[in-house]
Symmetry: C2
Subunit: 239 residues, 2 copies
């Protein structure tokens, strides 16, 4: 493994303080990072020591060129003639994705979706600590879901002041979403993972990073493709 230590010491686009530079990387590349992370995690579990961009490209159904190009945005993670050390590369991408950053998350809205998300291993598996849930329903407040307390929404600010969560998962009805988002922003939240069906854009708080998720949009593109494929079949039948 000594060659990897050498690589790590020699290459890599780093800031003065040694961390990896992320600033100027294109969104397209960033969106692909979690997928690399997943595949490398799988290889790691299978005890693979090394992988070449060409073998990985076959597994992931992307070009080897893209893999090399993407990884190189963050530094030279591989080695000519050898490929990539799976453990090392997985670790580097983990680092990029903040797996070791110790982020904490709260879930606002303890309905079906809130429960489903908080009950999954999604957070812990990615190094994110689940801290608490919040809801307005008196029947839920004070109860426990998946080992976490459900607090009253009024307690949001005091909780944030004490526990400084980084991420808020928003699963409230869309009517409440904007108000809650502003309260979260004021309370110093750093990112909002928004599943409420209201698209959020907090112009007043540009420092808060928002991911608007619309599961319905994804269902609709699936429907589009189903209906379109039916149509093209019908058309080729007619020919």
């Amino acid at each position: 493994m000594e060659h990897i230590d050498k690589v790590a010491g020699t290459f890599g686009k780093r800031g003065e303080s040694g961390e990896l530079l992320r600033g100027s990387v294109s969104p397209a590349v960033i969106r692909r990072l979690p997928r690399y992370h997943r595949y490398l995690g799988e290889l790691l579990r299978n005890n693979r020591l090394r992988i070449s961009s060409s073998e990985l490209s076959k597994m992931m159904k992307v070009t080897a060129s893209q893999i090399r190009q993407d990884l190189n945005c963050f530094g030279g993670f591989g080695q000519q003639g050898y490929g990539y050390n799976v453990k090392y590369l997985h670790g580097k991408i983990s680092e990029l994705l903040g797996v070791s950053a110790g982020l904490g998350a709260i879930v606002v809205g303890a309905g079906n979706l809130g429960r489903a998300l908080v009950s999954s291993h999604m957070f812990e598996r990615r190094g994110v600590t689940r801290l608490a849930l919040f809801d307005v329903d008196p029947a839920l407040i004070g109860s426990e879901i998946s080992g976490l307390s459900v607090y009253a929404l009024e307690q949001l600010e005091s909780f944030c002041e004490q526990s400084r969560p980084d991420i808020a998962v928003l699963t409230t009805p869309k009517e409440a979403a904007y108000e809650v988002a502003v309260r979260l922003a004021k309370a110093g939240i750093r990112g909002i993972w928004n599943f409420s069906n209201m698209e959020l854009h907090l112009e007043e708080y540009p420092e808060v990073i928002i991911q608007n998720i619309h599961l319905g949009d994804s269902l609709m593109t699936l429907c589009y493709e189903i209906v379109s494929s039916a149509e093209s079949n019908r058309q080729s039948d007619e020919e």
Copy 2:
């Protein structure tokens, strides 16, 4: 409204049998359609009769050019000097997205996420009928969730033969996903909305459309951005 009837009769890229052509439209455009649909639905609820690409562009934070370019892939839905008729355009996009196609969906896996999805209004709101759930847990089989029966997974094939669902929402554990997907493909499903954490690619059944959803990936890009913004703050502090 007569001008719109005229537009509808005069323009539009249509096949011989009159339906809208979808075949050659770029994926980037298709992914944006559901968002147009949402914003137009909102305008419709607010009783707006017409909208120009430039006003819509301000609402949606995209360029007016992109809106016109996108909509024109499917035909001339607007009118020079007037803009777009909200109801007409919303209807056209609904049609494109298959809202009126009468698709039916089953949910395989009645865990937290399966329940959450099936309990939302997501399907009916988009013209998709929820038909049933399937699970292997004897405690769930025979019960009802959100007004739908939970069947044993063994009944999948017989149910599909009878009710011909178009879409299967897959929320099984990842170990089961591939086998279930193949069974669904054999049973004639047309699309799989895959939330299991296994990426599906059914090479043997290219006619089956698969949408692999990885919520964890989206969480990770949020983490990436949070950690990166912290880093760039730190760096500018140092200067």
